[in-house]
């Protein structure tokens, strides 16, 4: 259990016309909530996609929960999950049908009990029989979270978990994630633009810019290092700094 939840070494993703990830290295210890921060095109989603096995890197090593993700991803996929408000569940199936199918894909035995339990926890019982395409943004986010928690993942990857949510729902989701991590000891790695969210949830932050990690540490340490009052100011400082940032590993 001393292995970090995520270990990335010299990761590169090169496309014919651009370099999306440019030799990044980082680790995420087990049981923490960490964030990849950066502007649009910084390489956050690309990095998450590689960690999920959806995208093959051009070079580098990726180890997730002690397994080489590039060679043995099927050993580790049952132990992790993913949620993004930008990837909807199929619209025409009901919420229950969607969850049932994913529960089967994860090989869960007590599927119906698990769905009922998550529906109760995430307050989605009222619309379990509704087509997923007819939910509000807040409802969709909670359903996506239910799908992501079906297999009680040891590693949960989240892409902008509270994007397009009203402040109340966003706060509720953040509270739920904090509770989940505290209860299960899971590791959460998120990509986010929401600085206050990251300050609240995360103990580790990696600042990305043009495919590189340009700084990292706890939110408090970053704020102190840049002499700012909050993480948003640090983010703006880094985003507007021309090319002087030295990548860190």
């Amino acid at each position: 259990m001393n292995e970090p939840a995520v270990r990335v070494e010299n990761l590169v993703k090169r496309y014919p016309t651009a370099v999306a990830v440019d030799g990044i290295s980082f680790t995420v210890p087990r049981g923490v909530t960490a964030a990849l921060l950066g502007g649009n095109g910084a390489g956050k989603t690309t990095t998450l996609s590689i960690l999920l096995g959806l995208l093959l890197p051009s070079a580098g090593k990726v180890q997730v929960l002690g397994e080489d993700m590039l060679r043995h991803r099927y050993r580790v996929l049952p132990r992790m999950n993913f949620s993004s408000p930008f990837v909807d569940l199929p619209h025409r199936l009901t919420v229950r049908q969607n969850l049932l199918i994913y529960a089967r894909l994860y090989g869960l035995r007590a599927r119906h009990q698990r769905i009922e339990q998550l529906a109760s926890d995430l307050q989605i019982s009222a619309f379990l029989e509704r087509p997923a395409g007819k939910l509000s943004a807040g409802q969709k986010t909670r359903v996506a979270l239910a799908k992501a928690l079906l297999n009680e993942p040891e590693l949960l990857l989240l892409d902008e978990p509270t994007a397009s949510l009203d402040p109340d729902t966003g706060d509720w989701v953040r509270g739920y994630l904090e509770g989940y991590r505290a209860r299960t000891g899971a590791t959460i790695l998120m990509a986010s633009h929401n600085m206050s969210e990251v300050e609240r949830l995360c103990s580790e932050v990696m600042m990305m810019k043009t495919g590189r990690i340009v700084d990292g540490g706890s939110p408090r340490a970053l704020i102190d290092r840049y002499g700012r009052t909050n993480l948003e100011e640090v983010f703006l400082h880094i985003a507007r700094e021309p090319r002087s940032m030295v990548p860190v590993s």
Binding site: G53, V87, L105, G107, R109
Partner: protein, 272 residues
């Protein structure tokens, strides 16, 4: 919480999960279910009445009454086999669902098995009612062909799967711009499959092309059974052998395209 953690083992549970998804989709839209039944039945009606007309106006086609109807129904097995596979595949593209599916332990070959299973269900749903309806309408039963019918059915279904896999591979590689191929490619093979006429009707140079299609052997074999009551095992063996070659090629194209999509990051982006 017990979870299967094996690396390469095929899980019928995951195949069933995907099949269940396509069955839910089919059930969620009655127009789509109706569409499954509509074309085969309509084709059977048109060709059935045409056959009845020819029955009283031509001594040759008198014997061909069943040949035309059987050809119509068997052609639908090939067409529906390919389309049934491609449609389930396209459902995932339209729903932009690959990003969800392939962060689960689902293997690409398990997905393919579910697509093949759904294709067979769609074929049976489309063709069996039409075949049954022909019995009271025209006093003609395609089931009278007997065991060879099962062999013809299997050979055409396999060819439909091979085509479907190749087309899905092309869509994975080229994106949704290639979607139209799912609806049209099979029709380009109809003239040289010799569905309604013998291969000898074709010019000799085109006959060479016809004999590389499994469907040509099936329709020739079907006519032999219906005209002379002889089952040509050599035709069936040739059809199945070609099917195996095309299935291997189709599956290879599909899996290479899938791997390529992972390299390009298309699994998250693929959609309308």
């Amino acid at each position: 919480m017990r979870i299967m953690r094996s690396e390469f083992r095929l899980s019928l549970g995951r195949v069933w999960a995907m099949l269940l998804r396509y069955l839910y989709l089919l059930r969620s839209s009655w127009p789509r279910t109706l569409e499954l039944l509509y074309w085969p039945t309509l084709q059977m009606l048109i060709w059935g009445f045409m056959s009845q007309f020819l029955y009283v106006n031509s001594s040759y086609v008198f014997r061909a009454f069943g040949v035309l109807l059987a050809a119509v129904m068997l052609w639908d097995v090939l067409f529906r086999g390919q389309l049934g596979l491609s449609m389930s595949f396209l459902e995932e593209m339209w729903a932009r669902n690959l990003g969800h599916l392939f962060v689960t332990p689902l293997r690409p070959y398990e997905w393919v098995l579910s697509l093949l299973s759904m294709s067979m269900i769609r074929v049976l749903l489309g063709t069996v009612p039409a075949a049954l309806l022909a019995i009271p309408l025209y006093h003609y039963s395609i089931f009278a062909i007997g065991l060879p019918l099962i062999a013809f059915f299997a050979a055409l279904l396999m060819m439909g799967w091979a085509l479907g896999l190749a087309i899905c591979g092309l869509i994975l590689r080229q994106g949704m711009g290639a979607e139209g191929l799912a609806w049209t490619v099979v029709f380009t093979l109809a003239p040289i499959s010799c569905v309604y006429y013998p291969v000898s009707t074709l010019p000799s140079w085109l006959q060479h092309a016809a004999w590389v299609l499994p469907s040509t052997y099936v329709f020739e074999g079907m006519r032999t059974v219906l005209f002379s009551g002889v089952f040509r095992a050599d035709y069936l063996i040739s059809a199945v052998a070609l099917d195996i070659v095309y299935l291997v090629l189709g599956a290879t194209a599909f899996f290479l395209s899938f791997h390529n999509a992972r390299r390009r990051g298309a699994l998250l982006q693929m959609g309308e």
